[in-house]
């Protein structure tokens, strides 16, 4: 078995509330998997567990054959998992280029002495970081390039912030990207564009992608496989058509519409 | 890593206490005296701590200048006390005098707290925490040196109330009247505050604002008014604490008398769980006890010379330990996650 990512019986309790409940699933290299489910189903908590922001209550997470439990977030990023956030979280006062350069942190190593004395190796590494960051930003066309490189991230539009956040995740040279609602708050045109981009991320850049998404058009367009969650557990898994017609999924969405919105 | 530290701390406390107790240096009655003294001191801390906790609960900011609110009450009431003593009124009517002093001090402290709120903090309601904290630090020093400029840098001494310095003896235990009075009065006030917050309509809107400012304002609560009332309450308690301090420790009324007690009361508020009213009371009293007993019990047992000099350091060490091991405090900070 050559699974890139695997988790088994993953659970997380907050006091009395079980946010993730015995959740098991896996991702193979090169797949694009969508994670869907109603609000409060535990999707974002699952991301937080995978990236090490919360310790799980029980269960195991394996990535590239290594156990992630007990590792710090930065160690997990170093192993090759990077994420974006549902409410975009950039470094607002840093420039766009710097935001992307931060992603390269775990792939570079010059320390304090290097920074002060600036030997050749430092300069080369800094040049590499800069070029890499520009390369990732160029992925999104001209929007994040040119004069914008030196603008603070706070000056960007909402959609461009989302793009920059993906670029920042890309520049960690991760194997697995976790995208938390990349199309949230975007207009229909931008949504279509994001769906194409996710495909491109896999096809051209070789990322394996796990995406949380509410927009079913995006889910339909991009997913090789869809996993549906409710009450912290998996209720359905398969292709988009299989999951979309699954009665548990329909019940999870429709049965609770009265409460949800 | 953390548990190693935890074990070391507990071991040191136990070892120190055991050595002291085994040495039999202090009789049981002296422990009780220390306890009562700690209770009196602790209830003063508790009164100040409540001010930190109330403001934190509502505005999520550390009102670093609260120690100076307390100082203002103590300072101004000193002048009234001094005048009353010179006119002979104090000797004739000690209880009425204390009542007048309490009124003056509470009024002064409330005034200072309200000015602080109006001039400095109101515009910072949605500012980052760091900005409001730095403002509060600035306000703290501004107030200290304003009082120094107005009233001079010398230390004053509260007049001594004859009746207060009597002693009551129960068997082998002797306590000072003032200790009992201060502790009782403070506890009474805290009870009043608790009643106010839990039972009255204003109290309810305070709690609503502390849960969620936006929702509360949508529900028709005037958030600014609630904040003003919070500062008023904090100011009144701090003013009372100032008078009690004067009664209990007449010496050393000066412009910088609020700094250390402020720091300690903040520690007490954190110890009890900041934002939590009973927590601040418990935290204050616990800190007072710990400060009074701790050096003699633990530090002396560890063979530290001049243990009582380190009394002031104890509160801070405790603050650090609480924040490391139980950041939510004894009674827990409500909604710790969201407020973090």
């Amino acid at each position: 078995m050559n699974k890139l990512f695997e988790c088994k019986n993953l659970s997380k309790d907050f006091g009395g509330l079980t946010a993730v409940n015995k959740f098991s699933f896996d991702i193979e290299e090169g797949e694009i998997v969508s994670l869907i489910g109603p609000n409060g189903a535990g999707k974002t908590t699952f991301f937080n567990l995978v990236t090490g922001l919360y310790p799980p209550s029980s269960g195991m997470i394996m990535f590239k054959g290594e156990d992630l439990i007990g590792l710090s977030p930065y160690e997990i990023t170093q192993l090759g998992i990077a994420r974006t956030f549902q409410a975009v979280r950039l470094f607002p006062d840093m420039t766009i280029l710097e935001n992307a350069m931060v992603g390269q942190h775990c792939r570079s190593k010059s320390g304090i002495l290097g920074a002060i004395l600036r030997p050749r190796s430092y300069q080369e590494e800094e040049e590499r970081i800069r070029n890499n960051a520009k390369e990732q930003l160029a992925f999104f066309g001209s929007r994040l390039m040119g004069f914008r490189l030196d603008q603070p991230a706070a000056s960007l539009s909402y959609a461009n912030r989302r793009r920059l956040e993906i670029a920042r995740a890309m520049s960690t040279e991760a194997k697995l990207l976790l995208l938390d609602e990349p199309a949230a708050g975007m207009n229909p045109k931008e949504t279509i564009e994001i769906a194409r981009l996710i495909g491109k991320l896999r096809d051209e850049r070789g990322f394996t992608i796990l995406v949380i998404e509410h927009d079913m058009r995006v889910v339909k367009d991009v997913s090789d496989r869809v996993v549906a969650m409710d009450y912290g557990g998996k209720i359905a898994e398969g292709t988009y058509e299989q999951v979309a017609t699954d009665e548990h999924v329909i019940e999870a969405y429709l049965g609770r519409t009265g409460i949800e919105e | 890593m953390l548990w190693v530290l935890r074990v070391v701390v507990i071991a040191l406390v136990i070892y120190g206490s055991a050595v002291t107790l085994a040495s039999g240096k202090y009789a049981p009655s002296s422990w009780i005296s220390l306890l009562i003294a700690g209770l009196a001191q602790g209830s003063i801390y508790a009164l100040i701590a409540l001010g930190y906790s109330l403001v934190y609960g509502i505005m999520l900011m550390i009102n670093f200048a609260h120690g100076e609110v307390y100082m203002a009450g103590a300072f101004v009431s000193f002048f009234v006390a001094d005048a009353l003593e010179q006119s002979g009124f104090l000797q004739a009517q000690p209880l009425v005098t204390i009542f007048i002093l309490l009124l003056t001090a509470m009024a002064t402290s409330t005034l200072v707290a309200l000015i602080l709120e109006r001039v400095a903090y109101r515009r910072l309601q949605n500012a980052p925490r760091m900005i409001s904290l730095i403002t509060a630090i600035g306000a703290s020093f501004f107030l200290q040196y304003t009082f120094r400029g107005l009233f001079g840098s010398g230390f004053k001494a509260y007049p001594v109330f004859g009746t207060m310095w009597g002693r009551w003896t129960f068997g082998s235990v002797t306590v000072q009247v003032v200790q009992v009075v201060v502790a009782m009065a403070a506890i009474l006030m805290m009870g009043g505050l608790y009643w106010f917050v839990e039972k009255t309509k204003t109290g309810k809107s305070m709690r609503a604002v502390s849960e969620d400012k936006e929702i509360a304002s949508l529900m028709g609560i005037d958030v600014n008014r609630v904040i003003v009332i919070t500062f008023m309450l904090g100011g009144m308690l701090a003013g009372a604490a100032g008078v009690f301090r004067g009664l209990y420790q007449p010496q050393g009324i000066g412009y910088n008398m609020g700094f250390l007690p402020g720091l300690k009361a903040f520690s007490a508020a954190v110890l009890g769980g900041i934002g939590n009213i009973p927590g601040a009371m418990l935290g204050g009293i616990f800190l007072g006890l710990f400060e009074s007993i701790g050096p003699n019990l633990i530090l002396q047992g560890l063979g530290i010379v001049g243990a009582n000099q380190l009394k002031d350091a104890i509160a801070i060490v405790m603050l650090v330990l609480v924040l490391i091991f139980r950041p939510q405090g004894i009674l827990g900070e409500k909604l710790a996650e969201e407020k973090a």
């Binding site: 710097e98 000056s155 045109k189 | 600035g138 703290s140 304003t146 010379v305 380190l310 002031d312 350091a313």
Partner: protein, 715 residues
């Protein structure tokens, strides 16, 4: 008709109330500065001798400021264009100013009246007869009450009137007055500096009286400033022109030669200053010759060397008189060479221009060198003169001003260290004094022969150990606070700072640290067998430290480490998920910050020779924090300016020391409310493209636009 319209708009109740309120606030401020004793204390210092004191100036500024603010508010409120009609609105604005000033004046006169009636001194210690005398100008109270009121309203009106002058005149006027006031305040310092040998004594007699400035001095300063402010905008162009001409016409070899000789002279002068004697050489180079060649019959150079070697042979015993003579000769010769070279340069320029005029080729314009060379030259020149000025400051200013500079330097160094912790890593450390103290104490213990361990090391041998020990302390303090939230971290570090002081004071550590008596007999810094005693010599140590810290800070900021810190300070959690080990970087910041503070502490110990626990209180931390905030958190030039203003000014004016923390507190509040990014912000936020950005957010995009977008077009 329009006039009454305007009157109607202006005299709306809201505006009237506002004017009153501003008047009342200004009155309260005036009362406040009287009550806390500032007016009286400052009253003892004359700005212009016998005419006006600093205390009076303060009250005048408050009254005028009130008027100006009232008018400003009024203008903000009235947006109707008709109200801009000149004459009437001018009158109304003056009226508003007068009203505000009237309230200030009334407040003060009521206060004067009350003070004369009731003795408030037993409570308000600063309400003294001296204050009353100052306010009444030693006249009977009944006479002056009216005068004060009227004066107040006049000043308020004047403040309002200044608002109505065109900015082209207003700016030089205000700056001119401000410079008279500030130089008047710094009169003592001016006197000390100008009395040193080498400054023309005419200047001193002309500018300064026994008390304050002379009237002629004040006028001169005002006029000079006005001229300077007026030509200021043209200076960059003039400078540019000069540099162009020099680069074009003066041969490069000559440029280089002058710089090298200049550098040698400077080095020799510093050597003379530190190692030989701090007073025997005139300050200004030209005076070297002028001072010594006045005697008839002797050539300046020879005379000069003679005098030098005579003086030296009697004053110095550290280095032989031969060395002194040698150095003195080098200085004199090289300074003459500089003069000659400059003359030569000017001749070159003139000659070239003449040549050009002769050649009747009208088509040829000046052949300027390319811009890159120009920019580099300009940068080199500024750097050269910057460093030259920096190193020659103690020589130019003398001992006492150097003391001020030394203290500024100590705090500036701390500021750079604290900036790493607060400005770069975003950890608000309020107990920074602890590291300064550890630095000072460890230096004292390692070097003082009286210290318990009796090592008696030299400053330089001890310094690496001090830095390492303090760095380790930084880690020790950093470790328990790693997981704490920002505001808790601030209070806990404050607590640590206090604990440090308690421990230094305690009997527990007395055998090692000396308790309240501290540690005595710390030897001064020495280089070779030259001891750097006195602030003017120690200055070079602290300035080296500051430059190193500045260099480190500047280098770190743009680096991988700096980015990690910045990311961490903006969003710790995200930084961690982006692969930054925040624990490591927090400890790194604490450790490095502590190391830099220890340098400052070490120099502090060597400077005083004795250290007490009481020197290391929370006020040190607050000062360091304030200077950081005033300059702008994270801004390196901001630290320099912050240290000069917040530490330098109070050192220069002894009256300020009493109110130092009052002012710091007010400054902190004011900066946080009005300008949280500081005077010299780190990043100038560019917001001008916002509209363009927002357009991309628009829900309905033009089809053509999106087709041009490459990222979509590719797929």
């Amino acid at each position: 008709m329009t006039k009454s319209n305007i009157a109607h708009t202006v005299l709306e109740r809201k505006n009237a109330t506002q004017t009153m309120l501003i008047g009342i606030y200004s009155g309260l401020v005036a009362l406040f500065v009287c009550l806390i004793g500032m007016v009286e204390t400052f009253g003892e210092r004359d700005i212009i001798g016998g005419i006006i004191s600093m205390g009076h100036t303060m009250l005048i500024i408050i009254a005028m400021g009130g008027g100006a603010i009232a008018v400003n508010k009024l203008r903000e409120d009235i947006s109707t264009p008709t109200a801009k009609s000149n004459k009437a609105s001018f009158l109304i604005e003056i009226l508003v100013g007068i009203t505000s000033g009237l309230i200030v004046g009334t407040t003060l006169s009521v206060f004067v009246f009350a003070t004369a009636l009731v003795d408030m001194r037993s409570v308000l210690i600063n309400v003294s007869p001296g204050l009353l005398e100052m306010l009444t100008l030693q006249k009977p109270v009944s006479q002056v009450v009216m005068t004060i009121t009227i004066l107040g309203s006049l000043l308020g009106g004047l403040g309002a009137a200044i608002f109505n002058i065109t900015p082209r005149i207003r700016l030089p006027l205000v700056v001119g007055l401000a410079s008279v006031v500030s130089l008047g305040m710094l009169r003592d310092m001016m006197k000390i500096i100008l009395s040193r040998e080498g400054w023309p004594s005419v200047l001193l007699n002309f500018l300064v009286k026994n008390q304050g400035l002379s009237i002629t001095g004040a006028i001169t300063i005002f006029a000079t400033t006005v001229v300077l402010v007026t030509i200021w905008p043209h200076i960059p162009a003039i400078y540019d022109k000069i540099i162009r001409v020099v680069v074009t016409y003066v041969p490069r070899t000559l440029q280089l030669t002058v710089s090298i000789i200049f550098a040698i002279t400077l080095a020799m002068r510093i050597f003379w200053f530190i190692a030989i004697s701090d007073k025997d050489l005139p300050v200004l180079p030209i005076c070297n010759i002028a001072a010594h060649s006045s005697d008839v019959g002797e050539v300046g150079l020879v005379k000069c060397i003679n005098i030098l070697s005579q003086d030296v042979s009697t004053t110095t015993d550290l280095l032989g008189a031969n060395i002194a003579t040698l150095v003195g000769t080098i200085i004199t010769i090289s300074e003459m060479l500089i003069g000659a070279s400059i003359l030569l340069g000017i001749m070159f320029v003139l000659w070239n221009i003449r040549q050009r005029a002769k050649s009747t080729d009208t088509t040829s314009t000046l052949e300027y060198p390319d811009n890159a060379l120009l920019i580099i030259t300009k940068r080199n020149i500024s750097a050269f003169f910057g460093v030259a000025l920096l190193v020659s400051l103690p020589i130019l200013l003398g001992v006492f001003p150097s003391e001020v500079l030394l203290n500024v330097g100590l705090y500036m160094l701390m500021g750079f260290g604290l900036n790493i912790v607060v400005g770069m890593a975003g950890l608000l450390d309020l107990g920074y004094v602890a590291f300064f103290a550890v630095g000072a104490y460890s230096m004292a213990m390692l070097t003082s022969p009286r210290a318990s361990i009796e090592l008696g090391m030299s400053f330089w041998a001890a310094l690496p150990i001090v830095v390492l020990v303090t760095g380790a302390t930084g880690l020790l303090v950093g470790a328990p606070v790693l997981r704490m939230r920002g505001d808790y971290l601030a209070i806990v570090t404050l607590g640590f700072g206090e604990i440090a002081r308690f421990l230094f004071l305690s009997d527990w550590f007395k055998p090692w640290l000396g308790g309240a008596q501290g540690i005595l007999l710390i030897p001064p810094v020495s280089i070779g067998n030259v001891q750097l005693i006195g602030p003017h010599k120690l200055y070079y140590v602290i300035i080296t430290g500051c430059l190193i810290a500045l260099f480190i800070s500047a280098r770190l900021r743009g680096s991988r480490v700096g980015r990690a810190w910045m990311a961490m300070s903006e969003d710790e959690q995200v930084a961690e998920t982006m692969g930054i080990n925040t624990v490591y970087y927090k400890l790194l910041a604490f450790g490095l910050g502590a190391m830099i503070a220890s340098l400052s502490g070490a120099v502090f110990a060597a400077k005083l020779g004795t250290i007490f626990p009481h020197s290391f209180n929370v006020l040190v931390s607050i000062t360091a924090l304030s200077l950081l905030i005033v300059g702008g958190i994270g801004s390196l030039p901001g630290i320099i300016v912050g240290a000069l203003v917040l530490v330098g000014l109070p050192e220069l004016l002894r009256e300020f020391t009493e109110y130092r923390l009052l002012i710091y507190g007010a400054v902190l509040i004011f900066m946080m409310l009005a300008r949280p990014e500081g005077l010299i912000p780190r990043v100038r936020q560019t917001r001008k493209i916002d509209d363009q950005e927002l357009n991309q957010d628009a829900w309905l995009h033009n089809e053509n636009e999106t087709n041009n977008d490459s990222s979509v077009a590719v797929t």
